[in-house]
Symmetry: C2
Amino acid sequence: MSPDPSTTSDLVTPALLVDVPTFERNLAAMDAVLPGAKLRPHVKAFKSTDMARRLDADGHHGFCAATPREIEGLVAAGLTDDLLLANETLDTARLGALAGRANITVAIDSDETLDAAIAGGVRSVLVDIDVGLPRCGCDVEDSARLADRARAAGLDVRGVMGYEGHVMMVHDRDKKRAKVEQAMAILLQAHEMVGGDIVSGGGTGTWDLNTWCTEIQAGSYTLMDTQYDELEMPFEKALSVLATVISISSKGWIIADCGLKALGMDHGNPSWDDGDVFFCSDEHITLMPRELSDWKVGDRVQIWPSHVDPTVARHEQFWLVDDDSVRDRWPIDLRHW
Amino acid sequence: MSPDPSTTSDLVTPALLVDVPTFERNLAAMDAVLPGAKLRPHVKAFKSTDMARRLDADGHHGFCAATPREIEGLVAAGLTDDLLLANETLDTARLGALAGRANITVAIDSDETLDAAIAGGVRSVLVDIDVGLPRCGCDVEDSARLADRARAAGLDVRGVMGYEGHVMMVHDRDKKRAKVEQAMAILLQAHEMVGGDIVSGGGTGTWDLNTWCTEIQAGSYTLMDTQYDELEMPFEKALSVLATVISISSKGWIIADCGLKALGMDHGNPSWDDGDVFFCSDEHITLMPRELSDWKVGDRVQIWPSHVDPTVARHEQFWLVDDDSVRDRWPIDLRHW
């Protein structure tokens, strides 16, 4: 790699690219509907404080995180206004240690996670409610008791959160709206019992349909992936993996240097505009081009990941590009735990 | 995390554990059949120079790698005896720059990859042969010509390599042996034309059945995974991800803090000894325990990855453990590109 790559041909592959014009359009499309505090960007999707700073500059001063490490990184980067660990943790001392430097709120859904928040020196909580996704969140019936216990311990109970992740990929918008409403009815019921100003939920897949939350927790809209791209949304794929063709077979396939270690594979194979993806190995992708004669060893191919978050977490940096020009390098500095 | 964790309860989760007694048994089982130079351990499986040093101490002084970065890391760690980049690359200047400090051999399968080796200052090559896996490797008919061209350019042509990756997961040993023989017949045919001392191939799935190669390229046997564990082999699962239970649902599931960003998912869900894995999210695993009453928030669970290589590449370190004691920390220092 050139120490300071100016074009994509200078990049060591596989390289994670962000197309700047597309990324900027995605941000503008979101801001037109959810400006400022109506959006609480979820950093788990992009794990970069440089990208968080870019969103902060647009007026989104509060952020969601999925791990204590993400919170620590945001604080170190000076993004301290209003940080929500939208997840349960027992590793609360790391968060309490930052309480004097940043406004940190943590999700709780049990006596144990509340006790950990108190013991760790966390000052603010949201009560996380199970709204239908088989994951974290307490039952509505338990929410008021937890809120009362938290307040009795001197914590600020800011409201409720609930993630309707089970409806993100419903394609029919009318059906999806009905399912979101059903999930949010549970969350609003809990909110009445818990109190506080915040009703937090939603995601890229329900960003404009979830009109019940006071703030939406979306992150993937910034970069997108092939699965979210199936939905009717104004966001476009800005994230790709650049790879180099290293071998061409007489049997009709070509092989590039981007594999399982450069991709999140839980949503299946990535995609390629010039043919089909046959399969991925650790450091290879075997591609079936529509026109084999178009390709030679050394050519670059652009691969579209199927799932943004676990793909990003495999890389050290984003390369921000506009066509073939490399505009910037943003470290993916919020990885690991 | 404690600065110097002494037991697994001190570890931040998710944490990647290597069970030392199991790991040592795997090494002994391999060495009983393939001692010294008969095994060329493939570092792509474990990406750790500490682990490579451990194998070097057992008499395996030659290593395989899948990326230039892995070669650079092995050289920096002083493991310079005989390094094979068992993969095609055009990024050869990085390898040529190390030629004075280490014996580095690179796989080639085309004029372009040979030209790159020459231009980059690489001194030794193996001719990579397509033995049936739809990936890299030239046709047998092209191998002698490439070898002649390489020798004419002053390179040392050390022999051939060919990876029978398409037969690794055949369960019936007789059928598998026949398929390995078929693949290796192609490789031996190329070897007759190419010359040199080395016939390199094989992997953990064919480690004892491939008796045609002069050296076997295996790495996964050290740590194993649930997919390889389906085969009849003397190697046992030494690698697990330790996670913390952060939520318990009234509906019968429990949630731990180990998800898509801590696991390679291309072979599907990981496994759990105490029940079923329902699904994984970015930072969560939803588990259906056989006995819900056995579990409480804060308990630790041990998750078995389904694919070793891409799981390892998601972590910064191995924690070497014996029961609950933490014996050592080995950085996973050969990641990225």
